[in-house]
Symmetry: D2
Subunit: 277 residues, 4 copies
């Protein structure tokens, strides 16, 4: 089945140089540099994001995440601040010289979100929202495509191809865990996805240890494992007050925990001959 991919735009060509490097401002995703993406699940207020971003900036984070449109299971849960959130994200990121990534959930919002964000995220629930994939494929923005929690690798790569077919080759994949019978973690982090994708495709792939485990104490060890098996970066939820976060607080780590994480992964980054940008 995977052999059929050979005709696709995402398929790996011979030679290491053919690997894609996606550029976002001065950052490079997909080469020998590791990218760290951090920030809160949801943007709650300017004050909240400023506080978090300030700390993350001190830890060297150059790419800030934060949701303005939140895909929540329950329609009565906090749905995000919308455009107001996008403006806060841009303002705070500019203040600390960071680039940004945020989720877009509707074809109608693609243009608006593109005005404020440096990278457009397609969330796990929309991995096979083909109308949305086509819409972001028509922009020039880098796209962070999260794997569907119930999707195979073939489907994951095919969704990347939907974006690329429209002319946008700046696709960054993100493994975020799959649905299994395991009940001790929120999802099952399937790290073999990383070298599998690297074997088949020239696209970069990062790992989200926050959503895949849902357990604060597992985030650092799984971050180390992700980099060891070839991931190009990590996306981690950080909050200054996890207990009162409006979304997914239980899996968010504190800025000081994040700082420790960056120290712990450095020897692994060095061991795989990469550098932290």
């Amino acid at each position: 089945m995977l052999k059929e991919y050979k005709k696709l735009k995402l398929i790996k060509k011979t030679g290491k140089k053919s690997l894609s490097i996606i550029k976002v401002k001065k950052l490079e995703i997909g080469g020998d540099k590791i990218i760290l993406i951090a920030g809160p699940c949801a943007i709650e207020s300017e004050k909240q994001l400023d506080k978090i971003a300030k700390e993350l900036s001190k830890s060297g984070v150059k790419l800030l995440r934060g949701g303005a449109y939140k895909p929540r299971t329950n329609p009565y849960d906090f749905q995000g601040l919308g455009e107001k959130g996008l403006k806060i994200l841009k303002k705070i990121a500019d203040k600390y010289g960071m680039a940004t990534v945020t989720e877009v959930m509707d074809t109608k919002d693609v243009e608006l979100v593109s005005k404020y964000a440096d990278i457009l995220q397609i969330g796990t629930r929309n991995m096979q929202n083909f109308a949305l994939l086509k819409a972001v494929g028509k922009t020039k923005k880098p796209i962070l495509l999260k794997r569907g929690m119930g999707s195979t690798i073939e489907e994951f790569l095919s969704s990347a191809e939907y974006i690329m077919k429209e002319g946008n080759s700046n696709v960054i994949l993100c493994e975020r865990g799959i649905r299994t019978f395991e009940d001790n973690t929120r999802n099952t982090l399937s790290l073999a996805t990383v070298p599998t994708v690297k074997t088949l495709s020239h696209l970069p792939i990062i790992v989200d240890p926050s959503h895949s485990t849902g357990e604060v104490e597992l985030i650092t060890p799984m971050s180390k494992a992700a980099i060891a098996c070839g991931a190009d970066g990590l996306m981690i939820e950080v909050h200054t007050n996890p207990k009162h976060a409006l979304s997914d607080g239980y899996q968010s780590i504190l800025p000081k925990e994040f700082k420790n994480l960056t120290e712990e992964i450095k020897p692994i980054i060095k061991a795989v001959n990469k550098t932290l940008q």
Copy 2:
């Protein structure tokens, strides 16, 4: 967790009379009448649909399915005829006095599809496309909501609530199988979903034995099982030439096989004190 649902619009009230019955033309979905929905996976041409609908009409089918917008894993596969397909669907359905159901995949298309179809289908890949759920929730059309292949029942019902919250209570649920390790069927048909949903909610639920098994020889026995445990109807893929179907032919049955199926389920329908409409 499910107890929290008690505040939701979809939650079951005491007494059988509180069960929702969704009306589509003269048809009723959700009471003591069983609905059979049949047709090809994709609308391929007027001739193809006419041929299939003619046969189905003879077997008593009053609700015709057929996809004009097809959510395909691979972007290079047949994506459906679009509006042309919608026009064919309406024309053929009118010819045989049938009602219609067809999938809508993009918020931009909701108005257009509503012009032609009697029921709007939200497919398994879009079960948590919340922008789309909100958009169809703003119409008056009955919505057929298919369960996400990697979604829990809580998520399934919460997605129904997204639609109802916008003012549209005409939601019909559809169990279509989930992703598991089983490799002998396309998906695993989780029939316990039917009585579980009936316990929690007043909404009707039908079963799709075609997608859930992907095996022609399993469609009739699983149709019988679905009705026995309380399903309000069935949605079945029928094609006059399965081998040359443009989508999912391998799981489509022939019109004469469908006719046999209708005969085989009649004693079960009677055994559960329902009638075939």
Copy 3:
């Protein structure tokens, strides 16, 4: 892969008459008669089993279940009464003219359990305990083989073949649910297993709605569905005091609920042209 089965002893030959009927005293499992197996999860005392069996006998049950050796996840939980339990099972079954089925967990116990029970059960955790399969294959006893909760149908049938290869063709299969991401039921009852097994093999297959759902209110509807799609019988946990049962009480139904169940399944049994024995 399934085609390779054609050389196996379990593979279906042409013609309905080739279907195996397993005889247990005057009972027949696998033909046009439906078998009901009922009883407590664990044999707790003679008094407990007598009370339950008396009620079940009134409801027409002719095959009594009860565990003397219990495979418990936690080593500190009640492990069963052992031989004392076997003696109680035989005594009570004789009193009410019933046949018996009970689990054997160790090759060393096969001879002992065979002395007391009419059918030897291989539990889900031992479905691929090949030493045990070979050991029971050397007896003449009918074997009730439960599907492993993480096993494919190919593995399930191959385990039956292990028994048959040793000379014992009296194998009764039992679908009891599989491990999936679903969290509203204890397991996911995969009913498509029933017609799949019937297509491939001449062996009878029954369904266990108690373990597969773990929810009292789902047992009757899933029993109806099981018979509708071709199951040869049901195995159901019944207890007179579920709240104080030493094992799995939460999924046990009361004798009066069991009686209602037998009434509810009768029309379905008739609809599939079978009779309740």
Copy 4:
């Protein structure tokens, strides 16, 4: 649920010194030294094992694996050489100064296998064969307990407790992948198991990248990831002629590939402050 474990023998006490170190001859499993276990899936002949062990010895392997009793899905597949295989294993291991691990599948064989092997392995299919767990718990031998492919971490640890309850605390856990819907790898390697087990228990845990991926090209990256997240060692299938191996050849790597693997993991071992023994 996991909190209930606090009374169990396997539960972690405060302080790093409380972590168990299992001694096997001069080897230590569970401390700051990484153990590499390698060898063929099945012992096929003295010549075959000698050839493989000779190469592995040159790569520094001190613990040789090889199956004499093979748990095969199909009863007509090669079932292992039995006692003859055990004798070969011991002879070859002695020749190269190695310790050995081999699977025991039947309570009757525990004594015999204990005569020849340094570590007794309980395979994935027997993880909840409680009779076998109790039997090996009565020996003094170190036990390598593989996780059931459909088992939760709670069940995995509870099975370790079964062994320890009998008086044998020398339990080494092994994560070997679980059953999920993923179809590009043989199983899904759930590496979060490693830090989860380390959080809950004082027992050592190793990882089997061969069975968990079933893909030769994924074995090295997943070995690196395993060590990065805290695994105490690796168990890897190596064969000099994978294409003609009698069992699982497709996932076996060549001795030279294994040698490369040992080179590639060294920087990771160093990065986590451990040494290769």
